[in-house]
Amino acid sequence: MLFNTPVFILGFLPIALAGFFLLGRWAGRRAALWYLAGASLFFYGWWNPPFVLLLAGSIGANYGLGQAILHARLAGRTRQARLILIAGLALDLGLLGWFKYAHFLAASLAALAGWPAPHWHIFLPLAISFFTFQQVMFLVDSFRADRADAGLLAYANFIAFFPHLISGPIVRPKDIIPQFQGDTVVLWNTNGFAEGLDIFLLGLAKKLVLADTFGGFADVGFAAANHAAPLGFFEAWYALLAYALQIYFDFSGYSDMAIGLARMFGIRFPLNFASPYKSRNIREFWQHWNMTLSFFLRDYLYIPLGGNRHGEGRRIGNLMATMLLGGLWHGAGWTFIAWGGLHGAYLVIHGWFRRLARPLPAPFRPIGRLGAHALTLLAVILAWVPFRASGLPACLTLLRGLAGLNGIALPRLMIRALPALGWIARPVPVLPYLGDTRTLAFPEITACLALGWFIVLALPHLHQMSAPTRRLAVAGSFAFAMQALFFAPAVIPFLYFQF
């Protein structure tokens, strides 16, 4: 079930909310939490019922392992705790590896050996990447004794709570489990509900109004690149700029919806996006983009690998390993590994730069900040090429277009309106790989992109907005969101569902 569908908004959500708070009032917290866990499993099963067994089994097994680790650790049996931890991690990562990476690995090995590609049909369970990381976190925190003792009910809700089950945010056990254990969770709070609804509606608008619009523009350009079409300069850049906006609005929209939904149930989730495209360096970008994943990678991979504690060589190695695995986590494909590798390289270069560069003289600092912002944004946007492209040939096709190697063309109408454009571009009736191939597609997409980048670069993100500003944003977007929700020809899933 998708958050951006009428069946969720008008059906599942009101029933889940009403049942939870009514049971909490009349039958107590435990009954309400059992109901919520059941509702979350129903939400998950809507997609493919048999996989509810996998999720429920995984929750049960990890809970047992986590409790065993914690008790062994608290009793001073560290070796036993470590062995159980290793077994638990092997189980979780083994499942993830089988479902998500087995085919990719086999196909890559077969290609290396010159054998025919295998034709395995392994069905990837929805959200396995997210709930695996949540459970890894739980096991590691159990080993670190960095969590309170929790009952199965609170743990099941921590993992399966439907707002974050499918695509995060990835939340820490010690932040969330105590919220489910408190008695206040089942008390209805009108203002909390209003705040959650407010955030949910703005997240919904980000997804339906902005992300899906920009996705339509990006799809045309990337589809052309997949077919090795000779993309022109503007067609390639517009597709890439549109994709950068699509993935931001799609994922941050999802995160806002998850945060808003959780708030409606009295649960507070951490922030997951904080204007990442405003970052002035790549480190800052990762502190503001998918923040909960970044913290997970830092605290559960980079630092355990040794972080920066064993010299420059190890630091670079650890950073590259973390980012390559982060890329691979997004999808079983070389393009995702290339994306992770690019970001790893950016972070390594940034580390060197921080150590070697001297501060600019005061009068040049504003220009320096602007340059740093522009360079960071360019680096991030260019890295989306392998992330979105279907393969290396498509990447190269798009990069040729971005470099202007297929020429620069503009619709004749534009050159007639602004003759100076004729110096840089040749006139054509329409740009064939831009939008819906109409003369006016160029100014239309230009205006849409300008609006999108204005929102991203000039406006505060919605968690920085005051309540009145947020209401203004609702007034500006609600009708468009309802239009898309009830009248759009198709429901477009969230991009991160595939990860």
Binding site: L440, A479, F480, P489
Partner: protein, 332 residues
Amino acid sequence: MRDLGKLLCACLASLALYGLLFALVLDRPLSDGTLRLEMQRKLAYAARLPSPKLLVLAGSNAAYSHRCQVIGPMLRLPCVNGGIALGIGLDDQFTRWEPLLHPGDIVYLPMEFAQYTVSHAANRLGPDAAILLRHNRIILARLPPGRWLGAFFAADLRALVLSAVEMAVHTAGLAGPRRALAGKFDAAGDRIGATAAKARRNQAFLATLDRADPTAAQIDSGYGSIEIIRFLHWATAHHVHAIGGLPTEFAAIRLPAETLAATGALYRRNHAGFLMLPGESRYPHRDFYDSPDHLVQGCQIAHSIAVARALAKLLRRAIRPPPAWVKKHHCR
């Protein structure tokens, strides 16, 4: 509770602002404006014709693949070509045309298959939805309430941006509907100038098109079929002679026999005629201009001659030879 009230007010304000903007302020003078002007011209021309007259009504297949200036003189009937675009809702089209039809008039309907199978949801949101809300609210009021809702919610973010762009381009005098239609239609509403020379650059594109025909079940259950049947009943009640026909399509794709049977039955069951041409109105790729619904000019004329002869036989009318000017044009 106050926070929730304020949020509700923001939502209502959003809906009110959206409605005001798209009903009264924003417009798309180029894309929608061109369709509107074309529609106005055709309706105005039809209003001037004496009865009995012939109306050819479908999507763009009517305009591109049929020539009233051939069919009309051959049947000795004043003729208007009412076809504009596939996406314009049939309920909207019939509502506009019905007041202009009188006893004894003939309506030939070579509807595109997509017009039969269109869903209710898609019909509500066609390009005419914005036109109805912005310019033709009286016609909109005559349509079912579902259409009002569709027209109210027809505009997305792109429509907002496109309206701003089109209004700016139109105001600057860079483009306009009159210029867009200039030289493309004759007085009767037939598309002219789709020459074989111009069609040559589209041949590679046409070769990539491979449109599958709908099944009989899709024809039977489509929302468009419901609208067509409703119109056929109206025509019977008002002594207007309705005749169904097949749209032009690629000969390389064979029309399934059950689809043909279902299409014909839809008309015959509802007291209308059904016209079948030899070859089921299917022609080689090279006869088309830029889509399977659009014949090049020479073939448009040849097809129209065939339609006129078949109509004459069906209507038991005397037939005249084609007008002399058609000899200048050749199909293949």
